[in-house]
């Protein structure tokens, strides 16, 4: 079994990877969108710059974006492991990664308006721990930038202005509206995580968890899978484009989950993730061996 100190060191590795190495499926999607833009267009130039940036960050192990975001951890752990230890290790890892400039000092106390200076504060990072039967630990990390987080939004259905009822068509309308409202402000081309159902807080958490899915995967529920593909295609017709410069790629992927709801409520919660879709996943065995996950 690893010591808390060893866990911290492993988690710093996960942070380093998330902050500097963009997942291959995202890079691939960005390459394809670059090729789909007209030569000489602002959209193509923006994507060229983005692709160049990804290479620079990866080869120098430097942060892809200076806003290293809120670190969101999802951890699966074996029976009997202390979640308090895991949370403390995540917090320490964030402080240490900040000291190494892998993360920016990104935590502000809203009462004093002082930056804590080490990247950590109550609620930062957020850590979700769940027990499972495997003897290994699985860590999934998302670094969620502030600009795109500000584009997140929540709808309650029915919504008259959008002619959105309490059904999948209504969900589609909300998501498209959110994408149009975001314009380029969330650093498009973005990735949408959404959840219908749940309450105001669980819906947002699930919408973020959806962002852990690799881009090419398919939703196991056929109608939701079709909805995800449809929304990608439709939003790319809006001509918002990379950075909101206009162009053919506004969104790289849409991932939709759902949770049980109360009869009275029907929420559609939407999280916008920027092109700098910094997620990393690792399986860590009891002896400390790390296997990186897509």
């Amino acid at each position: 079994m690893l010591t808390p100190e060893q866990w911290t060191a492993k988690l710093v590795e996960v942070i380093a990877r998330a902050s500097t190495q963009l997942p291959p499926d995202v890079v691939e999607a960005l390459r394809r969108s670059r090729d789909a833009e007209i030569e000489g267009s602002l959209a193509r130039k923006a994507l060229d710059s983005i692709l160049h940036n990804i290479e620079l960050a990866a080869s120098n192990w430097q942060p892809i974006c200076q806003d290293t975001g809120t670190p969101l951890f999802w951890i699966h752990h074996p029976i009997g492991m202390s979640t308090r230890m895991l949370v403390a290790a995540c917090e320490e890892a964030v402080r240490r990664a900040t000291g190494k400039q892998l993360l920016r000092p990104n935590a502000v106390d809203p009462l004093t308006e002082k930056n804590t200076g080490h990247g950590q504060a109550p609620g930062i990072p957020t850590v979700h721990c769940e027990e499972w039967d495997s003897p290994e630990v699985e860590v999934r990390l998302l670094l969620k930038g502030g600009g795109c987080e500000n584009c997140g939004t929540q709808y309650t259905l029915p919504n008259q202005a959008l002619k959105a009822d309490r059904n999948l068509e209504g969900v589609r309308r909300c998501i498209l509206d959110a994408i149009q409202k975001a314009q380029g402000k969330g650093c498009s081309p973005g990735i949408i995580g959404a959840c219908f159902g749940g309450d105001r807080s669980s819906g947002y958490i699930e919408s973020k968890r959806q962002l852990l899915r690799p881009l090419p995967d398919h939703n196991p529920i056929p109608e939701i899978d079709a909805l995800e593909q449809d929304i990608v295609a439709q939003s790319n017709q809006l001509d918002i484009g990379p950075m909101g410069f206009g162009g053919n790629t506004t969104v790289l992927g849409v991932k939709i989950g759902h949770l049980g709801r109360l009869p009275a409520s029907y929420f559609v919660s939407i999280s916008y993730m920027c092109w700098a879709d910094r997620r990393a996943g690792a399986r860590i065995a009891a002896d400390g061996t790390v296997t990186w996950l897509e």
Binding site: L42, K45, A46, S49, I50, H52, N53, L56, A57, N60, Q62, P63, I64, C65, Q66, D67, T68, Q101, L103, R104, P105, N106, V108, E113, K114, N115, G117, G145, G146, G147, N150, A161, L162, K163, R173, L176, D177, Q180, Q183, G184, K185, C187, Q234, Q237, L238, D239, I240, G241, P242, M243, G244, F245, G246, C274, W275, A276
Partner: protein, 195 residues
């Protein structure tokens, strides 16, 4: 790609149009929320001459402090400009700024300010922190570091070959307003909503 050397005069800025690509050369200053408030609290005489004729960069960088005490930018992309919308036009007017670098564009008040004072909004590609940090050749000095922290401090930097696009010009043109309007119409058509 045309070069824009900073500081510059109003005529140079008036010649720029929406859609122009530029490479910036010279001295600029970073500033975001805290800096904008601070700049409007009093006339900040120390920074004023550095801002006159130059541009303010909406950026909260990752900065490395070297052993000998000098700083360098590790990651330095633009941050969302919309947060400065209530203050930007005033800051431009008071300090004689010739422009702003940021991302996501700004609103009607700033657009009017740009027209009035002869300034432009320059869009850097959001998230390209490494490409842009490479274009920061020197960190000259920093204001309010202790008070505001690294991301919010005013960093005075020298840039070379710093790529930006003019998305709001000094003649009332705004790419953001155009794209917003056209995409709203498309969405309304797509969803059969009355416009």
């Amino acid at each position: 790609m045309a070069k824009l050397t900073l500081p510059c005069d109003v005529e140079t800025i008036r010649a720029l149009k929406v859609g122009d690509f530029l490479e910036l050369e010279g001295r600029i200053v970073t500033g975001r929320d805290s800096a904008h408030h601070w700049l409007l609290e009093h006339h900040q005489a120390d920074v004023a001459p550095l801002l006159a004729g130059s541009v303010i960069y909406h950026c909260g960088p990752v900065v490395k402090r070297h052993e000998d005490g000098h700083y360098s930018f590790v990651a330095a992309g633009p941050t969302t400009s919309a947060r400065e919308e209530p203050y930007q036009a005033d800051v431009i007017g008071r300090y004689g700024l010739r422009g702003v670098i940021g991302k996501g564009g700004m609103g009607a008040k700033t657009l009017k300010g740009l027209q009035e004072h002869g300034a432009v909004y320059l869009h850097a590609v959001g998230g390209t922190a490494q490409v842009l940090a490479q274009a920061v050749v020197e960190v000259e000095q920093v204001f309010m570091l202790k008070e505001f922290g690294v991301p919010e401090a005013l960093w005075v930097i020298r840039v070379s070959g710093f790529p930006v696009v003019v998305t709001m010009d000094s003649h009332g043109g705004s790419l953001h307003a155009e794209v917003e309007k056209a995409s709203r119409q498309k969405l309304e058509q797509m969803l059969g909503l009355a416009s």
